[in-house]
Symmetry: C2
Subunit: 242 residues, 2 copies
């Protein structure tokens, strides 16, 4: 498998254990498997999977060449493990925000958006969403990725829908909203916004989508409040500091 090869199933490759290597708990942060997943996730959020080679992941993880197949049966198996690991990491991030009782439900959503925006800014908007990147790549990836990526998005949507239901109960958004559908629209648009922010190298798309989505919810925003000075001239862009 060369550094630029597409992902191909190699499920039957024999998994050998290196002579003299003591068995370790591979779920520990310093364990090679976890180091490869962490380094691989960073690379996959930037470039996707198809154009990335195993060597690049091993080098970034500081794991000796040749030891990849000790831990993963194939590049496909590695990619699927990276999706699962990223899905869990992101679900935990959503839970931290969406269960923060010190914030109103809408503040929880905006807090998550600000957190995710800061996460992109930290790496100069080069890294996007692993799930979005791999979703876009589906035409070049094995079919096994499809269900995992959809499952990750649906899991995030469930968590987001619960936050929106709390916002509805608190009277912060339009009553009678289909919160499951709104959560789906959030993730559809958010993935598009992350793509655009990565393309432009800046946060404008994330902010624009946030404002649009809040307007959709029936929350008060600059978009939903008529601005007499803006009529007809589409005045200068506003920053909402999110």
């Amino acid at each position: 498998m060369t550094s630029s090869s597409a992902v191909l199933p190699q499920e039957n490759r024999t998994v050998r254990r290196k002579r003299g290597r003591p068995p370790k708990d591979q779920s520990l942060p310093g364990a090679p498997r976890q180091r490869m997943l962490r380094a691989g996730t960073a690379i996959l959020t930037e470039k996707g999977l198809s154009t990335v080679g195993i060597e690049e992941i091993l080098t970034a993880a500081g794991v000796p060449k040749g030891s990849f197949y000790h831990y993963f049966a194939s590049k496909e198996a590695f990619g699927l493990a990276a999706v699962d690991s990223y899905a869990e990491y992101f679900a935990a991030k959503l839970d931290r925000w969406f269960t923060d009782a010190s914030l109103s439900p809408l503040e929880r959503l905006r807090g998550f958006i600000a957190d995710a925006t800061a996460g992109m800014a930290k790496y100069d908007y080069r890294r996007g969403c692993l799930v979005g990147n791999l979703g876009q790549e589906m035409g070049a990836l094995p079919a096994s990725f499809r269900t995992r990526i959809i499952a990750a998005l649906e899991d995030w949507e469930e968590r987001t829908a619960a936050c929106l239901r709390a916002a509805e109960a608190a009277g912060q958004i339009r009553a009678g909203a289909d919160c499951r559908q709104l959560a789906q629209i959030f993730w559809i648009g958010w993935e598009g916004a992350v793509l655009r922010a990565k393309l432009e190298g800046g946060p404008d798309a994330l902010r624009a989508f946030e404002e649009g989505f809040l307007t959709m919810l029936g929350a008060e925003t600059a978009l939903s409040t008529p601005q007499p000075t803006q009529r007809g001239d589409d005045a200068a862009e506003k920053e909402d500091g999110a």
Copy 2:
């Protein structure tokens, strides 16, 4: 350049002309250059550029192997020409809808959405947006793609903003809206919806985003109208037939 190599600039490669080949107008639909762009665009909307080789494009176009460099200085030059050609094709599609005086401004927008949805259905949702695909791939593409892709999106946004201004003037959407920003939000979310539709192999995401966007505009939709039977139970998904 192998079939799976990433794009590398090869601007200085000598362009030779095949002995005996008569000069042709390469802008004609049957000319090899146009055939390669057309076949390449179909492949790029499905797989992106990074994982696609020149051979695959030549085979699909029915153009003899070895003649690629008669028409393009490099794979990068081909990719940029494909972006430009796709941007123009899509601008013409937008103009056809957005200048149709037989429709109301909001019907023009919905007509475009229905047209684009039918375009995806025609290829079983395998093909997405070339500009979205390549935007997502920026981490693996030469920097030259960035400005071209952004320019394409901004051009489409200008055309969409004009349609939204007409909708505002006709009283179909909220007064005082920042139509340029709304058009940007449309394209942010639409690219996300196309990604998701491709991932899921169906139109649900396109329909959900359409309904969300119309709600954002202040147009009457199922989302913006409280549904007493839906409150609290997030009742079954609705089809709006768009």
